[in-house]
């Protein structure tokens, strides 16, 4: 059988992802995690003296703590299989990526294993976040300097 013929056969036989179901699950779980985040934020604003502007930090840290627990007990991957982007996109997904890599590479020791691999999955987020922030701020700085926009 020729290559093109086979690729056609493969297209016909391979099931497409259940788009609607996946989107619905991602929407529900992602929304739920954000709602939990909202509750955590309120908790910090009421019981500690955080304001709307500063509550982001403890909220994110708390959610990542939850992610560590769920990851360590093997529960996050089950949520992930169900929710897809619903669990990967919230900051808990970032926490899961870092924690799962750290746990996995413990067998090579803390320095070379954990230290050398902890950002294996999440590194691209850090890289692109920093790089895009740099260029966008730079562009804005240039635009302000030549008088097109204001801060």
């Amino acid at each position: 059988m020729e290559k093109e013929q086979y690729q056609q056969l493969e297209q016909n036989v391979t099931p497409k992802p259940p788009y609607f179901k996946n989107v619905a699950k991602a929407f529900l779980v992602g929304g739920l995690i954000c709602t939990i985040g909202q509750a955590v934020s309120l908790f910090y604003m009421i019981f500690f003296d955080f304001t709307e502007a500063t509550v982001g930090n403890p909220t994110v840290a708390t959610l990542i703590f939850f992610a560590m627990i769920l990851t360590g007990f093997g529960l996050y991957k089950k949520i992930g299989q169900f929710a897809g982007a619903g669990s990967a996109v919230p900051v808990t997904g970032f926490g899961n990526a870092v924690v799962s890599a750290a746990i996995e590479y413990r067998s090579e020791g803390l320095v070379l294993g954990v230290g050398g691999n902890i950002f294996k999955l999440a590194g691209s987020v850090v890289l692109f976040g920093v790089v895009s922030a740099f260029f966008i701020a730079l562009i804005k700085f240039i635009l302000v300097t030549i008088g097109v926009v204001s801060w």
Binding site: C34, P58, F65, A88, V91, G95, F128
Partner: protein, 121 residues
């Protein structure tokens, strides 16, 4: 009060939906998808659109990974306003320290106390 939760749920859900479509239709890996979303957050931030979104949706905008891009960009812009070009570099990590530091710390602690298990359900 109840509305804040509903809006947080909705906006967070939408952002995750975009991620799911990138993965299913765009056939992007999780790494590519999240990198794209972080850059999108940075761009919206530069255009002055992300902070209003946070005012509107609260955790619905601060919890998704797009907020990383926003925090980094806002930090850089605020510092650039104060200190010029140098501020672009120095400002970036002042604001996101929470997300990355907590992930690193909890990752380390997790590595000490947990062992990976290949269970499926």
């Amino acid at each position: 009060m109840f509305m804040t939760f509903v809006i947080a749920f909705f906006v967070g859900g939408i952002i995750c939906t975009i991620g799911q479509l990138l993965m299913d239709f765009g056939k992007l890996t999780p790494g590519h998808t999240l990198s794209t979303l972080v850059v999108a957050g940075a761009i919206l931030s530069g255009m002055g659109l992300y902070e209003p979104l946070i005012n509107f949706a609260g955790a619905g905008a601060t919890v998704p990974i797009t907020s990383f891009g926003n925090s980094l960009t806002q930090g850089a812009i605020v510092e650039a306003e104060k200190h010029g070009l140098v501020g672009v570099l120095t400002g970036m990590f002042e604001v996101t320290s929470s997300g990355i530091s907590s992930a690193v710390v909890f990752g380390f602690i997790g590595a000490l106390i947990f062992k990976p298990k290949g269970n499926v359900d």
